[in-house]
Symmetry: C2
DNA sequence: CGCTCTCTCTATCTTAAGAGGGAGCGAGGC
DNA sequence: GCCTCGCTCCCTCTTAAGATAGAGAGAGCG
């Protein structure tokens, strides 16, 4: 038999870490070698242990999942990272996958799916949950927002007026309106409030 | 030594249930007797096992935490329920506590806090996390919304216009405006979009 | 019975939002 | 060089939103 698959866990909830650790360590072919509670720790522990797989929560204190994926793959292009998150609408997921994360998993997945996802990723095979695969296809058809539009959207979501947005971004109110209009068109919304609702549903913003 | 504290877990994430179960069963003085994956199951398993403590996630499929608390306490007024949730801003928490839940806990709490909370609740002592206690005091000072206002707020959050809201609630646009104005005043917001942001932060609505 | 609260409706007025245009300019790709 | 895209700015016009103020009906309460 080969050596065990070495796993590093990163999640800010001790309960989730315990759950994952219990599941993994019960298996004969894998073991948890370290647990991180935030993004910085996750990177540090990857460096230290060089695991076969890193299971990573998207939302964490200090440094979110996206930037952890970015950093780790920058240092170790061959790293096998399995993303784990609560919401299947998050835009972040696609950012991670396109940056090179090997797999993606919902937190409400059953034990068997979680374990088989870890095994798949450890063998460098991509694992994509079926619900996400479907969402990914849907997303392709939809227009994406530019960085500036995302900046404006964030402020809109905070309830700022066009005038206020203009002041904060050092542009004119007219330009702010132009961006807002583009956002409304791309998100297919009639009002800014609806745009916020749509954006939140798609995981473009986190309130 | 007394008999062990009998615990029923209710959470829709298998990972979290595993984690809690592992933590609890490691203790000499407590044990998990059943696990539920949704609200209905939680109620059924309470009936079946009559545990000393039920640990309950607020957000679950089929029936949410609030209504589970309501139903269980209706059948068993002495039930000891410990609420567990991810977000500390949720309005629901206060509803649960005022309905008679014995304790409240954040999911990112460390092991020791979780275990001591279960012990406290099992002895019929209330357990209140310090962050929540503070929030509760803050909340007292703030004006509460009427049911009608919450109805309107929900529609506002979905991006509906005043006219649309009026149609859906079978009232005039003027009345819808009156409600929206009241909402803005109570939430201390300038625009409806800001009101949605504030309401979401306070857990008055779930997008 | 008054008092308060909620919900309903009315009216007027000001301002912000959104629709529909056009246009310049720099960066990057073909 | 040409073209596209992102960002910026400008114009007009219509409508929705919000501020302000008043008022009546019904429920619940001391």
């Amino acid at each position: 038999m080969k050596t065990k698959v070495r796993v590093v866990l990163a999640d800010d909830h001790p309960v989730v870490r315990d759950g994952l650790a219990a599941m993994v360590n019960q298996q004969a072919d894998m073991e948890v070698v370290a647990e991180a509670g935030d993004g910085d720790e996750a990177i540090a522990l990857y460096e230290q242990h060089r695991p076969d797989v890193m299971v990573l929560d998207l939302r964490m204190p200090k440094r979110d999942g996206v930037s952890v994926v970015q950093r780790v793959l920058e240092l170790h292009p061959k790293a096998c990272i399995l993303i784990m998150t609560t919401y299947d609408g998050d835009e972040d997921i696609f950012q991670c996958l396109s940056q090179g994360a090997k797999g993606y998993l919902l937190k409400d997945a059953p034990r068997q799916e979680i374990l088989s996802a870890i095994r798949a990723v450890s063998e460098d095979r991509p694992y994509t949950s079926s619900t996400v695969a479907a969402k990914a296809l849907q997303r392709m058809a939809k227009p994406s927002l530019t960085q500036r539009e995302l900046d404006v959207l964030q402020l809109v979501a905070e309830g700022r007026s066009n005038k206020d947005i203009a002041r904060r971004l050092s542009i004119t109110e007219g330009t702010a309106k132009t961006h807002v209009k583009a956002i409304l068109t791309k998100l297919d919304a009639i009002s800014r409030t609806e745009a916020v609702a749509v954006a939140h549903k798609r995981g473009l913003i986190h309130l």
